[in-house]
């Protein structure tokens, strides 16, 4: 069954959606959209390094993204530049360096479009293993740090005062962000990964009344986006990433009608 490229893409996409759902909620709650973008941009450098050294792509992206995340924390401590400037600096410089390195790799045939926007033809059985095992690990760790991470998202000082160690939870969460980008890069492409994180979660925010519900709706939204997106990608011969994200946008727009309704009910 997994011989068919489309089935492989579907299985991969579903695995990714299960993980981006809950992580995406935290990205929205903690206002990390641009942080996600920065990690994703740096992923290009990870991919090129993987090609030069014949290394596993997911692992290489994970290492580079983690490195960028750590550099960000150091830069925040040591400079007086605002956070968004540092994020921009890291995002664009790592993207630029990645592109320059690609320029040197003339001996490799490079599908840059696939890299930027996702390529369902490229998903192998090995990728499936990485997505599902990696994804399960990410979810397991997220479950373990849920309490301190969520409490410190609501209020850092409360979490710290009542002994939950929010700094450790935050550091672990950063690593999880690098990991999800590493495992989903082939599906969605590095320019659109943040979209996969935030659009289903934003849709879920519109229709949910509690954090747990938001996580569940966010997962469902992600799953629907992947399924809808991949089928239309097959039908219209479009890249997988843009198709999935467009499907997510469609769901988001639909969720806006739900808000209108509830505001009407209130009045």
């Amino acid at each position: 069954m997994l011989d068919d490229f489309f089935i492989r893409a579907l299985v991969a996409g579903i695995g990714v959606a299960f993980v981006t759902g809950p992580l995406g909620c935290f990205v929205i709650w903690r206002r990390l959209s641009y942080f996600g973008d920065t990690l994703a941009h740096s992923a290009l450098l990870g991919v090129t390094l993987a090609f030069t050294m014949e290394f596993n792509i997911a692992l290489s992206v994970f290492l580079i993204s983690s490195l960028i995340a750590l550099s960000l924390i150091q830069l925040q401590k040591r400079t007086n530049l605002p956070g968004d400037a540092l994020l921009g600096l890291l995002a664009h410089s790592s993207l630029a360096v990645g592109l320059v390195v690609i320029g040197f790799l003339t001996f490799i045939r490079f599908d840059i479009m696939g890299l930027l926007f996702g390529d369902i033809l490229a998903v192998t059985v090995d990728d499936l293993l990485i997505i599902w095992i990696g994804g399960a690990l990410i979810l397991l760790i997220l479950k373990l740090i849920w309490k301190p991470l969520f409490a410190s998202t609501v209020n850092y000082e409360l979490a710290e005062a009542e002994g939950l160690n929010p700094d450790r939870a935050k550091a672990i969460f950063t690593i999880l962000m690098a990991a999800i980008i590493a495992i989903s890069i082939k599906m969605v492409g590095l320019l659109l990964i943040t979209g996969m994180l935030i659009i289903p979660a934003a849709m879920a925010r519109n229709i949910s009344t509690s954090p747990q519900k938001m996580v569940i709706y966010s997962i469902i939204g992600g799953l629907l986006s992947v399924i809808l997106g991949l089928f239309s990608s097959l039908e219209f011969n479009t890249s997988s990433g843009p198709s999935i994200i467009s499907a997510a946008l469609l769901l988001f727009i639909l969720s806006l009608f739900r808000i209108k309704q509830s505001i009407k009910l209130k009045n």
């Binding site: 710290e160 009542e162 009344t209 954090p211």
Partner: protein, 248 residues
Amino acid sequence: MSINQNILVKLKNAGFRINNKSLVKGVSLQVEKGKIVTLIGPNGSGKSTTAKIALGIYKKIDGEVEKYTNKIGYVPQKISIDWTLPLRVNDFMVLTENLNKETIDEALSLTGVIHLKDKNLGDLSGGEFQRVLLARAISKKPELLVLDEPVQGVDFTGEIALYELIKKISDELNCGILLISHDLHTVMSATDHVVCLNGHVCCSGSPLDVAKNNEYKALFGEQASQILSRYEHRHDHIHTDEGEIKKN
């Protein structure tokens, strides 16, 4: 000197600086089980900072802080909650500890906000939110309660009821309370020990001792001093069960 088993948190000559500007310095105090320690002082005198030192929120401090418990309930003075979170009162109650329904309901009833349980946190008024904050802090049955202006924005009758509740909790749970308040009238009725801050400890002791202290008078004025002494004076009697007043 034997180690006092009742001590929950102890500050030894503690202080905190930001960019070499001292917010508070040289604070020594201890909170014991079943005792209420109140911090008073003008705005910017370092009351909240002292509480945050005691809680371990500030890590790079001068002096020492020794904490003997991890069961802590905290009501911060300012709390900014991001309303991008869909958060109901019920979700907020279990923020730092898993509690069963009975415990949650009991705490919310005690502070008089059980009817708000399923409401979105963002839709509460200031006073309602303050009651929820207090309910959350007491629901986990802490050994140490740190209350930073816990009744701000609460209506007058509610204020008195909540202070009585705080006193009751301290007795029932035998927990220690570090209280910050600007309301000298209400606070002093329950306080065992008062620490008067003004960037440093300006004076400390029982409410009556502090009221007599000249530095305190200089800081708060003669009138404030009278409030404290008058309070002591008012309670030279006890109320019997029959409702009679009996002289001590």
